[in-house]
């Protein structure tokens, strides 16, 4: 879930008509001082990180003067909070609080509607108050068609025991909070505390919106870099992986690192993990963790991804130096055609000249063919690669991983500079959805089988004067008729003249490897 920082959330609230304290974001102590001068009153400084309980960590401080604000900001900026380094503080006018409330919006999975939650007691420890006094938590299921109407919000606040002017102000804030959440596709929104200040106005003193990952594409204005749930800023490799996912709608590719740099993460047998499907990946992770391995990363390619996506996932996983093995396993009975995954891995492993052992459990549709592809085309690389199917349990495969690593004599994966294949000048070439395919026709003369045409998954190649060319328009191929199944390239490389080259760029990976290596 794409979390917004407090200052971003407050900006959206302000735009939606909710009163928030006057404030500015500061990245340096001097900026904090300038902000405090402009505010011209005592301020509060708040670190901008995605963790709760900031006050207890020294992440919320008060300053009476601009000089004090500068001094406090100097101590807060650069603070390490879990895996964050604080790089910004929010400088806000300090409120004189007379009462604190809680307001939130969540998705109710049972009722299948947005659920508004209001409590007349807000502030720190609101969960404990709620669990001890459930009668102090008031809820209202919102009809998605009408949105939250003013009278519904007013009745909710009234039931909570509030009357008079504050009741009207709170109802107004709640309706606007719902509108802001809805407009920004926030799957959760909360204001805690929502405060009544001495000036008689209700302010959102803190606010957190979490935008629905699946709707981030509708909100380029929010500048969300990665629509994934992280409790820390994403690593550079995660950013690279995410760009791959963004550019290819076919299937799903998740990647996140459990250890930023395996080499520095200390002792332990780290392996690269490549799962398929949430449930199967979870089960497979349990199996390798139980064997005593540590995971350098978690990765999931599922939803019938093309071979090109699996290839890119494997290249990303193999950009982590220090891993001792490559373990791929999903549910074991996948509906997707498993030869796509097999071909993606074959291309990646062959390009990398993989040296660490790999155990690939590709149970499911066409698993026999998938395993045959792995066996046939990876026998000449230095690494030992074993392929398994649905009747081989994750536990058995984890055991094989342990055995192969023991037999490998301590081979450790070294990340090599990227050597992207290139299409020779003058070759017959066309664009695919995410790459480029070239056929060096000068080599086709010595080809006896012309097996690329037969191997082609979507059947878009034909022979013209004894040479393979597109049987469809180049535009159609570019738009996805070429499914990037990699079958022609693998066939030609291993059975014929090595005339086919498919270039599947991964922006940023080359530079990343240069730095990492």
């Amino acid at each position: 879930m794409a979390r917004l920082y407090e200052f971003q959330s407050k900006r959206l609230l302000r735009e939606g008509g909710v009163r928030v304290p006057e404030g500015e974001i500061a990245a340096t102590p001097a900026e904090a001082r300038a902000a405090a001068e402009r505010i011209g009153a005592p301020v509060v400084l708040k670190i901008q990180v995605w963790v709760t309980g900031r006050a207890g960590l020294g992440g919320i401080q008060f300053a009476a003067t601009p000089a004090e604000a500068e001094d406090k900001a100097a101590r807060m900026l650069g603070m390490k909070v879990r895996s964050y380094v604080v790089d910004r503080v929010l400088v806000e006018r300090k409120l004189e609080i007379t009462a604190e409330y809680f307001a939130g919006l969540v998705m109710d999975d049972a009722r299948k509607c947005p659920l508004l939650v209001f409590s007349p007691t807000g502030g720190t420890g609101v969960e404990e108050i709620a669990s001890r006094h459930p009668d102090k938590v008031f809820r209202f299921p919102v009809d998605i068609r009408t949105g939250l109407r003013e009278f519904e919000a007013r009745n909710l606040v009234r039931r909570a025991g509030l009357s008079g002017g504050v009741q009207i102000q709170l109802a107004d804030v709640l309706t606007k909070l719902y509108e802001v959440a809805r407009r920004n596709d926030a799957r959760s929104a909360e204001v805690n505390p929502l405060v009544l200040a001495a000036d008689g106005h209700v302010y959102a003193a803190d606010c957190h919106l979490v935008v629905d990952d699946y709707a981030v594409y509708r909100h380029p204005e929010l500048g969300i870099e990665i629509a994934r749930e992280f409790d820390r800023p994403p690593t550079e490799l995660e950013r690279i992986a995410y760009k791959v996912e963004q550019k290819d709608y076919r299937g799903t590719f998740y990647f996140f690192q459990m250890a930023d740099r395996v080499a520095e993460a200390g002792e332990g047998l780290f392996i690269g993990f490549h799962g398929a499907g949430g449930g199967g990946s979870m089960m497979s992770m349990d199996a390798v963790l139980n064997k005593g391995f540590k995971l350098a990363n978690y990765c999931d390619t599922s939803g019938n991804p093309p071979a090109s996506k699996v290839y890119r996932a494997a290249k990303v996983i193999l950009s982590q130096p220090g891993i001792r093995g490559y373990f791929a396993s999903g549910s074991g009975v996948a509906s997707q055609e498993q030869y796509h995954s097999a071909r993606g891995m074959v291309k990646a492993f062959a390009e990398e000249r993989l040296e660490i052992p790999a155990v690939i459990r590709l149970g499911g549709n066409f698993e026999e063919e998938a395993v045959r592809i792995l066996r046939a085309y990876l026998k000449d690389i230095p690494a030992k690669v074993e392929g398994y199917g649905r009747d081989d349990s994750p536990e058995f495969c984890a055991e094989r991983m342990a055995r192969l690593i023991a037999e490998s004599g301590g081979a450790v994966h070294a990340v090599r500079p990227m050597s992207e294949p290139c299409i020779p000048a003058g070759a017959y070439a066309f664009e695919t959805l995410t790459g480029r395919l070239g056929i060096d026709h000068s080599r086709c003369a010595s080809c006896a089988t012309k097996g690329c045409v037969e191997a082609c998954g979507p059947k878009i190649l034909k022979l013209e004067g004894g040479r393979p060319v597109l049987a469809i328009g180049t535009e159609e191929a570019r738009k996805g008729k070429c499914t990037e199944c990699l079958a022609c390239e693998i066939f030609c490389r291993f059975h014929e003249q090595d005339a086919v080259t498919i270039v599947l760029p991964i922006p940023g990976l080359k530079e990343y490897r240069e730095k990492a290596g």
């Binding site: 509607c113 947005p114 409790d231 449930g279 999903g330 009975v333």
Partner: protein, 306 residues
Amino acid sequence: MSIFVDEKTRVIIQGITGREGVVRAQLMKDYGTNVVAGVTPGRGGQDVYGIPVYDSVEEARDKHGPVEASVIFIPAAAVKNAALEALAAGAKLLVIVPDRVPIYDVLEIARAAEEAGARFVGPNTLGLLRPGKAVLGMIGGRAQRAREWFTPGPVGVSSRSGGMTSAISYYLTKAGIGQSTIVHVGGDAVVGSSHPEVMELFEKDPQTRAVAMFGEIGTTQEERVADLIEAGRFTKPLVAYVGGKAAKSGTRFSHAGAIVEGTRGSYDSKVKRLREVGVHVVAAVADIPGQILEALKGDGSIFSKK
């Protein structure tokens, strides 16, 4: 309508000419599903494996008669429109295969379905399959595989993981235990037919004598199944596995979520609640068939009819 489709249920496929639609149309048709038409706007007049394609669901209905169920293979951003279109044309069961459908779109579909007296499965689902009768979605991938992996029998399967839906059913088949209906409820936070809703349907289904459930951390589905059992609304033997034990329980970010759900959603909460009401919670998926056999001891109907 219920999820218990059969070979007579009149099904259409929205997005039939797309990358997934074409392949799964073949699966559904080959398996015996009564696919009466396909819909892709702008492609009316074509056909896919002999299935006629129309420009809209309304046109398909007008030319072929009532549409009972629609299986949707449409890019996520357009799913809401397609689902509302099917409901408007009278479909009573939607199977929404794509993932990454925005949550507010799902809530809008849910509201429209409620009003239309319709049900939906998904989004982010492989669909559902009734062994030997029909498949709606992509369980099994190819018809021949689906026939090998799944066999008719007395055990309902409900799973939040697509792969594990097939895996559990396959392991049951291997142990000689057939399945009544296999449902992948979908992997998202809000789904049309969650575990407790599927349990209520299995309760009413005379063919189903026991149920295997694959749960996961997050949402309140498994706890609500326990609530259902406690209330006496689900009375059949239930064997469950809950995934995510190894997943680190991170700091909960949202107070609102914690206030509404309390500790619900965690691995411990789910296992505890399920065990309290007598559910057999197994430690490994491989233990499911054995526990099902145990639960059905003395029941002569457990062995699948090959």
